[in-house]
């Protein structure tokens, strides 16, 4: 895998590479070169299988990490391309024409992270959620517990006690 990265390095700005396992490598890529890189990897290097496309929210850094995981089935090699995009008005480039199945992933990212993929088929339609009125739920700043408590009703009558406080109170009621 190092050979491939070394081979690509002169022509592409490849960032940090992580050699996680013998058959799994992650590497940082830039948005401008993503498309060309994916095409080259698919057509020339045998990475014909799009395993998954997903995002990781690095809210502290104000970035979304898009992970394009592609796989060369013959060589049993998986390559994860990490692309960092701005979290504000996040937008990615659609690759549904390279892998049609990417359209589904992009729909999910649009709905769950609020990342736009202009040009991707049906990307703005509701996908998994229905009648969702709030922030995209997979964003780190969406607090699912708080939302759940505000929206749904929990069964009443439950109360718990902290062993530390209870015991202290029991043994030393005066303080």
């Amino acid at each position: 895998m190092r050979d491939l990265i070394e081979k690509l390095t002169p022509r592409y700005t490849l960032g940090n590479a992580t050699y996680q396992r013998a058959d799994l490598t992650f590497v940082d890529v830039t948005r401008d070169e993503l498309r060309a890189l994916l095409l080259e990897l698919r057509d020339k290097e045998g990475f014909t299988h799009l395993v998954l496309l997903t995002a990781v929210d690095w809210i502290e850094e104000g970035k979304f990490q898009l992970t394009y995981m592609i796989n060369n089935r013959e060589a049993d090699q998986t390559l994860g391309l990490r692309l960092y995009i701005d979290r504000n008005d996040a937008e990615g480039d659609t690759i549904h024409d390279i892998w049609p199945t990417a359209a589904t992933y992009q729909r999910e990212l649009r709905e769950m992270f609020g990342i736009a993929f202009p040009g991707s088929p049906r990307v703005d339609e509701e996908f998994i959620l229905e009648g969702w009125t709030d922030m995209p739920p997979y964003r780190r700043d969406f607090d699912t517990l708080a939302y759940s408590q505000q929206t749904y009703v929990e069964r009443e009558g439950r109360e718990t006690h902290d062993p530390r406080a209870t015991m202290k109170h029991k043994m030393y009621p005066e303080g």
Binding site: G131, D141, T144, S148, V153
Partner: protein, 230 residues
Amino acid sequence: MKDLDKNFKKDTETEFPLREEMRPRKVTTPDGQVIDIDPLADYFCQEAPKVHRKSYSAIVEGFYNWARANSLWILGFGTGCGAIEMRPLMTPRFDAYRYGIQWRPTPRQANLLVISGYLSVKTLKRAIRAYEQMPQPKFVVGLGSCTINGGMYWDSYNTIKKLDEYLPVDLYIAGCMPRPEALLAGFMELKKIIRKGEAEGANKYAENFDWYKANQKSVIKDWDMPDYSW
């Protein structure tokens, strides 16, 4: 976090227009006639549910209840995980049919709705419609932790926590998920309740209709159907 970020806050009126097939439209029939169609008005009856009155005679009512108890027809609608444990009941090994229990493909033929575990908001909408389409008297059984108090999805943004807020539940079966044997035990218990004439869920639904509707609408944001649709 509700209303946290105005960028994402959606207005239910403008953001969720009626789906195309639900909108009123003019349609040209194959023979050239032009007709007006308003699906919401045409396909649904809007009348609110009524309380199902008991028979004038206790003996007759008792007979009815006996008959109802011995023919539980379950709507084959798997709303969540627990549905997978209903399948063995339909096969000879557990053979629920011997107890007068069978599964029906349509709500029109069913009198028991089994909510098999968690209900996402999206499925809740369908479950409500399925329930309302069932003829009275009808019963609801909740399977597993999720229907009782949210189960392991207690902090999920997309599942309801207390089923009895949205549908009248006659019986709960504990488990995650309950085994087929537990389901059968539950159905037997339901039979007992019906025999005693205490399975009054549907009437409760009719009596507290407004309360149930308000609860339902508070979680289903894009309410694009009539309040009662049967």
